[in-house]
């Protein structure tokens, strides 16, 4: 399953630092991506490339911090862009990768909860 690398990453961070830090970062990440998707959908045709690149720059770090490396790579591509050509394809890719990441995160949260309930 493509979620497994991210789940393994989250397991490792939880093992090292406990889940308080991770839960905070996951919450921040989900909110940031949700806000960005709304912003991009509304303004994809009129938004300046500079604004989109700035948004991608910020999200990229958050994505890496939660193990969503494929998503971070696409955001890096947007940050490196010099034109808006093909941007809509990038957005579709981001949405897809974000949904995959969200699935991984939810699966991890359930597993983590079960571990804590069982201990």
């Amino acid at each position: 399953m493509e979620y497994q690398p991210q789940i393994k990453y989250l397991d490792k961070i939880e093992e090292m630092y406990g889940n308080e830090l991770l839960i905070d970062i996951l919450g921040i990440f989900q909110k940031q991506v949700a806000d960005a998707l709304i912003l991009w959908k509304r303004h994809a045709s009129s938004q300046g490339l500079a604004d989109l690149k700035e948004s991608a720059h910020k999200l990229k770090s958050s994505a890496r911090s939660v193990g969503a490396f494929a998503l971070a790579d696409v955001l890096q591509k947007i940050e490196n862009r010099t034109s808006t050509e093909g941007l809509s394809k990038d957005f579709l890719n981001i949405e897809k990768l974000y949904m995959e990441s969200l699935t991984a995160i939810n699966e991890w949260i359930q597993k983590s909860q079960l571990r804590r309930d069982g201990s």
Partner: protein, 135 residues
């Protein structure tokens, strides 16, 4: 230890940096933009600043330059506020270090670089090791 100031417009990055320093001190100030950070620097003179380089409104280097200018004016008006110790700065950025031009500064000393591209555990470990050296 005097305050540690974390300057970053990304809340997740601030959270990671806060986690890394929280065992060393409870005196942690966070700022989500360079303008507010300049105010903190002028009033609190933190011992250490963990500084994001690329931020909207005021970048890291602009923040350093503006702080230097304002500190110069303050000390001109009130020489008793002369501070012999420089404030240490950890660059905390997803920009590559070779792409960052660090300004020369009379008030700030750039002691290290932590990349946001690194895994979280590497970021935390690096920040903690820098703090241990500063004890």
């Amino acid at each position: 230890m005097r305050e540690i100031l974390i300057v970053d417009d990304n809340e997740a990055s601030r959270r990671i940096a806060r986690y890394a320093v929280s065992k060393e001190t409870s005196k942690i100030i966070e700022s989500d933009d360079g303008d507010k950070a300049v105010e903190v620097i002028l009033n609190e003179v933190p011992k250490l600043i963990i500084l994001d380089w690329k931020m909207p409104k005021l970048n890291g280097d602009e923040m350093i330059t503006l702080s230097d200018e304002m500190l110069k004016q303050i000390r001109h008006l009130d020489p008793s506020r002369m501070n012999k110790e420089k404030m240490d700065v950890i660059l905390y950025s997803s920009e590559k270090l070779q792409d960052i031009v660090i300004p020369r500064s009379p008030n700030f000393r750039f002691v290290s670089y932590v990349s946001k591209e690194w895994p979280i555990e590497t970021q935390v470990r690096k920040i903690k090791s820098i703090l241990r050296q500063k004890r």
